[in-house]
């Protein structure tokens, strides 16, 4: 994906490409979601300790992963836009923010829905939950700052600085369960050891994660197109009148 964008670094060329990519990712998202949900709700067995509630995992975990991942990608594009002054990168960053915020919100929401039956409370102020909430505020702050500055270039740059500053929060979210004793469970899926999860559960969860991923790409591309249309309309207007 990154390679493509470098090659298509100008909005004019990227615009049609994005248009062609959207249906592909939409279809992928739907396919993964259908299969994932089927496995999640019909194939995956009941959990030995949580019973049926655990099935929230199929929404919660993908959303939580995406919330952090999208932030990193957004900060990356923002940083590229800031240093190399490439317009498209900044647009990408802006396009990602609402989806990231949505994912964060879903993670928080499903998390507390899940917390009530399992932990016995909607909310506790521990490191994982608090840092995830801060992530939501960072997304909102990013969008608010970008919207509050009416000069587009300035908005791009100022919000990029904020996005980069906020990156420190992501590792804190991820490692909080290791660094501090919290209610939230540790990682079930880890690159360094075998997953502590039944295979069918894991398959369902990973498929859902893919579905969320594809969905995020699709809507972000859609939003990038909208942003390009809005910003370049001015240029077109200028050429008409000049």
């Amino acid at each position: 994906m990154a390679l493509n964008i470098w090659k298509y670094a100008s909005p004019q060329t990227f615009f049609p490409l994005a248009g062609r990519m959207i249906p592909v990712f939409t279809v992928l998202a739907i396919v993964f979601a259908v299969v994932g949900l089927y496995i999640g709700f019909f194939v995956a067995p009941t959990d030995f300790q949580q019973g049926e509630v655990y099935r929230i995992i199929f929404i919660h975990v993908p959303a939580a992963w995406m919330s952090m991942f999208i932030y990193l990608v957004m900060a990356f594009w923002a940083g590229v836009g800031l240093t190399f002054n490439t317009r498209l990168s900044s647009m990408m960053a802006h396009a990602l923010a609402p989806t990231g915020a949505l994912m964060t919100f879903i993670a928080l929401w499903t998390g507390s829905l899940w917390g009530k039956p399992t932990w016995g409370t909607w909310w506790v102020w521990d490191a994982r939950l608090t840092s995830e909430l801060i992530l939501l505020f960072l997304y909102v702050g990013y969008m608010a700052l970008a919207a509050a500055i009416d000069d587009v270039r300035r908005a791009d740059k100022a919000s990029a600085v904020l996005a980069l500053v906020g990156v420190v929060n992501v590792p804190i979210i991820y490692f909080s369960v290791q660094w501090w004793n919290t209610l939230h469970q540790g990682a079930s899926v880890n690159l360094t050891r075998a997953p502590s999860m039944a295979a069918s559960m894991l398959t369902g969860m990973l498929l859902m994660a893919l579905a969320f991923w594809m969905y995020s790409i699709a809507v972000s591309l859609l939003r990038v197109r909208a942003i390009i249309r809005e910003r370049e309309r001015d240029a077109a207007w200028l050429q008409d009148s000049a």
């Binding site: 067995p45 030995f48 300790q49 039956p117 399992t118 490191a127 660094w179 004793n181 039944a198 559960m201």
Partner: protein, 162 residues
């Protein structure tokens, strides 16, 4: 000094500051940063008196007793090395089970009984069907027996891996 040299000096200074920061973080992780205590720490009088804090550990098998008043429950929380009695009146979470993780928030009474205001269930990162769980549990029990006879309890270990 050219502006480029100044920039380099600044970056060096920044990296040095970051180094100090990491050292301080490492130092900090040697102490308890959240008000979360294991029964061993409470027994060793490390927990605060008269202030609300959290206790974490495993509910001892067969220790859960409804009190005569009908609302409160009494149970024992252990980290395998030490244990502490807890009283609580209120609704217990669904996942509250004997032999499972629990986090209780409350105060330590003068009598050494932990008066919980809130009891939360803490579960581990394992997800599996019940049949598999049983097999694992059997294997674990055997392991634990062996382990207990080998090492006579490392408190921290118990708390962290529960």
């Amino acid at each position: 000094m050219k502006s480029r040299h100044k920039r380099l000096a600044m970056i060096a200074g920044g990296i040095a500051a970051l180094g100090i920061a990491s050292a301080l973080v490492l130092n900090a992780f040697r102490s308890n940063l959240v008000f979360f205590f294991t029964p061993s720490e409470i027994v060793a009088n490390e927990a605060p008196v008269g202030r609300s804090f959290r206790v974490g550990g495993m509910v001892v098998d067969g220790s859960v007793k409804r009190q005569p008043d009908g609302v409160s429950v009494r149970f024992v929380v252990t980290d395998t090395a030490q244990s502490i009695p807890v009283v609580y009146s209120g609704i217990l979470p669904d996942l509250f089970r004997e032999g499972k993780g629990v986090v209780a928030q409350g105060k330590l009474g003068q009598d050494g009984v932990f008066q919980a205001e809130q009891v939360l269930a803490k579960h581990d990162e394992n997800y599996m069907p019940p049949e598999a769980a049983e097999a694992v549990e059997r294997a674990n029990k055997a392991m634990r027996e062996a382990h207990r006879s080998a090492v006579s309890g490392s408190a921290e270990q118990g708390a962290r891996s529960e």
